[in-house]
């Protein structure tokens, strides 16, 4: 059977058949035993799952104990100059020909909580994977601080970088291992002192309410529990910088609140946190600064206050009765710009819009960015001009400024939406 005849082997044809039969029987028996055991185990796991009800994270005191504070408090840190923890420099990533991350640059300073917010597919996970060295950037560089306080190129080999903790995408663990085994291995690999590991694991499991599951296999875990385990493994070695990718995925509302509380607690202890999410509301409360990303491009990077201020600018929406035909559009916009000149926003942020008057065909409306110094008066003047002098060109049906109420969420959706419209328009222009 295998190659040439074995010289002198005591192995004759007739017993081969016998042996073969016996082996088949053995294998069948083994398989049956295996499935019986497996089924019984599964039952046990399900019973346990039923018993388990979410009790929520324990008091703040509990959470507090999981960090060693970084010394300097946050407010002091902010005033220091050279406290960059992570620096992205013209980071670009292509998947084949698809540009997933486009020339992204920003810095994360010590003690900051930065949110990376953008719709699904914006490139958030790609950026984080590059920081975690799971992906090589197509171009650009990533710098991370080392223990001496200098920035080191992540691409070069360097030993003593500041400790980083990652939660990337939806975490996946070896299915047949228990939570305890996985966490212990994680901690050992990251040189957490061996004698403290067991206490640390218990502590974290208690905080995340997984202590009953310490010795259960990960394959019996629900999605939310796996996510929590991912969170625990990212902070098991008490890192300086914590990078979280959609930490709320798969968690129930209570657990989401807990995640926010934990992030806040980290922040209070001077840790640096970089958290990505497609839901602004989930993280806006805990983040100091937000980087908005869409189609791989950072379209805004600022504090939440500034984002709100900048965007409250003053886009007037002016809805029309009939759509404007494309061949007329140019001349009408030109005329509008001339006539409304004194009232338009002079230092319009290019991140908001590049031109002060925009026509949005889908909404059949103009968007006019006006000067807000004397806002009521200006609006009245604009309306007057639009109605009187453009009577022959179009009919205004409604005239509104953006609602102030759900500001941030709106800013987000608007920024993203405008980005899209602009892209669509520019695409249409090309064709």
């Amino acid at each position: 059977m295998m190659g040439p005849v074995k010289p002198g082997g005591g192995f004759q044809g007739q017993n081969f058949l016998l042996i073969f039969l016996i082996i088949v029987i053995i294998i069948v028996v083994i398989i049956i035993v295996y499935f019986v055991i497996k089924k019984r185990k599964k039952k046990k796991g399900q019973e346990k799952l039923r018993e388990h009800a979410y009790k929520g994270i324990k008091s703040r005191e509990d959470i507090k104990s999981i960090y060693t504070p970084t010394g300097t408090s946050t407010s002091e840190n902010k005033n220091e100059k050279n406290d960059t923890m992570i620096k992205l420099e013209n980071l670009t990533k292509y998947y084949g020909k698809y540009l997933a991350v486009d020339n992204v640059s920003f810095e994360v300073h010590s003690g900051e909580v930065i949110g990376l917010v953008g719709p699904n597919g914006a490139g958030k996970t790609t950026i984080i994977k590059m920081i975690a060295k799971l992906l090589r950037p197509s171009s650009g560089r990533i710098w991370v601080r080392d223990n001496q306080g200098e920035l080191k190129d992540l691409n070069k080999k360097s030993r003593n970088l500041v400790k980083l903790g990652f939660l990337i995408d939806i975490p996946a663990f070896y299915k047949d291992m228990t939570a305890y085994q996985i966490l212990k291995y994680s901690a050992l690999l990251q040189r957490y002192p061996r004698e403290k590991i067991n206490d640390r694991i218990d502590e974290l499991l208690k905080i995340f309410d997984l202590i009953d599951w310490k010795h259960e296999k990960v394959k019996t875990f629900s999605k939310g529990m796996t996510q929590k385990l991912g969170m625990i493994q990212s902070i098991i070695h008490d890192p300086e910088i914590i990078i979280l990718d959609e930490p709320q995925t798969g968690l129930d509302p209570l657990a989401r609140i807990d995640i926010r509380r934990i992030i806040k607690e980290f922040h209070r202890n001077g840790k640096t946190i970089f958290v990505a999410s497609h839901m602004l509301a989930e993280i806006s409360e805990v983040c100091e600064k937000i980087a908005l990303i869409n189609f791989g491009v950072i379209i805004a990077f600022d504090t939440i206050d500034n984002l709100e201020r900048g965007l409250r600018t003053s886009g007037l929406n002016c809805k029309l009765l009939d759509p404007i035909s494309p061949d007329q559009l140019g001349s009408i916009i030109k005329k509008l710009t001339e006539r409304l000149e004194p009232y338009l926003d002079k230092d319009l942020d290019v991140l908001v819009s590049k031109i002060p008057i925009k026509y949005i065909p889908q909404k059949r409306s103009f968007k006019i960015f006006y000067d807000t110094t004397d806002s009521k008066q200006t609006r009245a003047e604009i309306l007057k001009i639009l109605v009187k002098e453009f009577e022959s060109d179009f009919t205004v049906v409604s005239f509104s400024k953006p609602k102030k109420s759900s500001q941030l969420e709106q800013i987000y959706s608007r920024l993203i939406a405008e980005d899209k419209v602009e892209i669509e328009l520019s695409k249409g222009g090309v064709n």
Partner: protein, 283 residues
């Protein structure tokens, strides 16, 4: 002296992640070990003991070395092959297909990770082989006199060859695992190549160019494991049959030096390529 100690300490710190990975891998894979062990023990007991105990007159090989080589055939032709495929097929590609690597890669250098995992699996597989050898040797006492000195030494050398053959196969499977997408495809394709591919190519070679020794074939090399037990090592290491005006040549077994060389090449090239591809591989 102090420098030397510092060096040692440094080396220890460097090696530590490998050790942790090794231990973790043992815990992760021990079930497979138990599975292969159970199968091995059953096969050995059935084939090398019960069968001969029942039909001792008609089946029992005449010489001790024939008994041993007969007892090892299942190991060399099935167990090592399947164990290598099942232990090693997922060693790299499962980290990507199951995404378990996303959690590990930021924590540990990929070379250290693969070395730790490789050694862990080898350790378990070697355990299976050692127990198999021990059992076959032990059971032979029921039918023959004590091992003669030479045969015992030969038996030990045969074990070393089986061990090297196992490492070579494992390296080969590891190499496949480093670029394959899924574990199952890796298992199927490596089994096909190692089990059928080599033999078929050997057959073609025998027909087309009988004077070329198929040293590239791991299954040909594996014949060394049992032929080393023969007190008279085959020389020349092929047999020829003449039919009319055509001569067929059947290669029996490689020379020891050639066998060692080929196994060594498989081991090193397979593993180094695998480690390099693993290092380069992204999601």
């Amino acid at each position: 002296m102090e420098k030397f100690e510092d060096g040692l300490k440094f080396a220890y710190l460097e090696v530590k992640p490998v050790i942790h990975t090794f231990v973790f891998e043992l815990k992760k894979q021990w079930k497979k070990f138990v599975g292969f062990l159970v199968i091995s023990v059953l096969i050995v007991v059935l084939q090398s003991f019960i069968l001969y105990a029942l039909f001792s007159d008609s089946l029992l090989p005449t010489t001790h070395s024939d008994y041993l080589s007969g007892g090892l055939i299942f190991l060399t032709s099935f167990i090592i092959l399947f164990a290598s495929c099942f232990f090693f097929a997922g060693i790299i590609c499962a980290e990507f297909s199951d995404k378990t690597g996303y959690i590990l890669f930021p924590k540990i250098n990929k070379y250290k990770l693969i070395i730790g995992k490789y050694l862990g699996n080898l350790f378990l597989e070697a355990g299976v082989i050692a127990i198999f050898y021990f059992l076959v040797g032990f059971l032979s006492y029921f039918f023959y006199d004590q091992f003669s000195g030479t045969l015992l030494i030969r038996y030990f050398i045969s074990f070393v060859f089986a061990f090297l053959y196992m490492i070579a196969m494992s390296s080969f499977v590891t190499f496949f695992s480093s670029f394959m997408r899924s574990v199952n495809v890796t298992i199927v394709s490596t089994i096909l190549i190692l089990f059928i591919g080599f033999n078929i190519s050997q057959m073609f070679l025998m027909m087309l160019a009988p004077e070329i020794e198929p040293i590239y074939s791991l299954s040909y090399i594996s014949t060394l494991i049992t032929s080393i037990l023969l007190i008279e090592f085959p020389d020349p290491n092929y047999s020829e049959i003449s039919l009319q005006n055509f001569t067929f040549r059947t290669w029996l077994t490689p020379t020891i030096e050639m066998g060692l060389l080929v196994l060594f090449l498989y081991i090193t090239i397979g593993f180094i390529l695998a480690a390099y591809l693993f290092k380069r591989r992204q999601l």
